[in-house]
């Protein structure tokens, strides 16, 4: 499998909220990076995990599959997922795959935080 071309940094703007800043390509090769970021984000007390896609360069269908797996893991811990920074193209993909029914989509970080 190819090396992942992605970085995922985790921030905690509030005690109960974590933001994962995704930079690069979301494909099957970044599963380990994504799950490691989730482990950092899902500290005790985290109720909302926000995915920042502002610097997303590319995502394929395997990437969508990984987001489904992430969603299941988060829901199991009673955590919600939100996202912002998606281009119109990827917003349409979220709508097509009906991921938008489970991951709330926002224009920017402030609106994602406000909706928490």
């Amino acid at each position: 499998m190819n090396e992942p071309i992605v970085s995922m940094d985790v921030r905690h703007p509030e005690d109960s909220i974590a933001v994962i800043d995704i930079k690069g390509e979301v494909t099957a090769s970044c599963e380990g990076v994504l799950m490691q970021a989730y482990e950092q984000a899902a500290t005790s007390g985290t109720a909302l995990i926000i995915l920042n896609f502002t610097d997303l360069e590319y995502m394929n269908s395997s990437g969508i599959g990984m987001l489904v797996t992430l969603l299941v893991r988060a829901n199991r811990q009673h955590q919600k997922l939100a996202a912002y920074g998606l281009t119109d193209h990827y917003r349409q993909i979220f709508e097509l795959t009906r991921l938008d029914e489970a991951i709330s989509i926002h224009d920017d970080e402030s609106s994602a935080l406000a909706a928490a």
Partner: protein, 238 residues
């Protein structure tokens, strides 16, 4: 949307958000999927499974050439007992393809798929409401140590309580079906006795009871009704 915003694989994605539309040539086979929506794993009912079937095809063909052929002749690699109705162009993003599955003697279960994504090394289907499974299935090829490895990766939940009850049987049928598909694919490309490995992971043991009403779309039930009521329907004009 500007070109700058479009990723380099934008053309690999389907764009048809909304109810599925079956092409006129396949309308008769697509009676159970026309007007339906696709269902992701989060819209299904039963436990969430990730299943992966893999086989190695040696070095006679590159991953790109393999996927090109797989997309063009997708249904030809299926074992007997199922029909994949698609256009001569093969598997391309946005195509809605009806599927017929011989569920029992005289009983063909009619369902289908949407081609969600297709690039040089992989393609992904999503299933519609009423299909046995809610989720995605990805067909891919990649280079591994100078050889080409083909895989089928399935992320699915049984779509409704009836299908969840039938999961033990469907699971075995899936094993037989997809293993045979990979064996047929390998045989065409010079590997007549390819070995298929299978890995299954239960990603989520929780059933999504809020989706139990999916049963109203159950393609097995609807196909049965379609067959039983056939004598009472007006015949289509030639």
């Amino acid at each position: 949307m500007t070109d700058k915003e479009l990723p380099r694989n934008a053309a690999s994605w389907a764009t048809n958000v909304g109810p599925l539309e079956v092409s006129p040539e396949h309308a008769a086979a697509g009676y159970n999927i026309s007007g339906r929506r696709v269902t992701g794993p989060q819209q299904g009912f039963g436990r969430l499974w990730q299943r992966t079937y893999t086989t190695n095809l040696g070095s006679a063909i590159t991953p790109k050439d393999l996927v090109t052929d797989w997309k063009l002749h997708f249904g030809d690699f299926w074992p007997k007992g199922a029909t994949f109705h698609t256009a001569i162009t093969g598997v391309t993003p946005g195509v809605v393809a009806p599927i017929g599955i011989n569920a029992a003697p005289g009983m063909e279960l009619a369902t289908g798929i949407l081609v969600l994504y297709a690039d040089d090394e992989s393609f992904t289907f999503m299933t519609p409401e009423g299909h046995m499974f809610a989720g995605m299935i990805t067909f891919a090829a990649e280079a591994v140590a100078g050889t080409t490895e083909a895989s089928i990766k399935i992320l699915i939940r049984p779509n409704d309580p009836l299908y969840e009850l039938g999961w033990p049987v469907m699971r075995r049928r899936e094993d037989t079906f997809w293993s045979a598909t990979l064996v047929n694919l390998a045989a065409k490309h010079g590997m007549p006795d390819a070995e298929v490995t299978e890995e299954t992971v239960c990603v989520d043991r929780k059933r999504l009871w809020s989706n139990w009403r999916n049963v109203r779309h159950n393609a097995g039930v609807r196909s049965g009704l379609h067959i039983v009521t056939k004598p009472f329907r007006p015949k289509a004009k030639a």
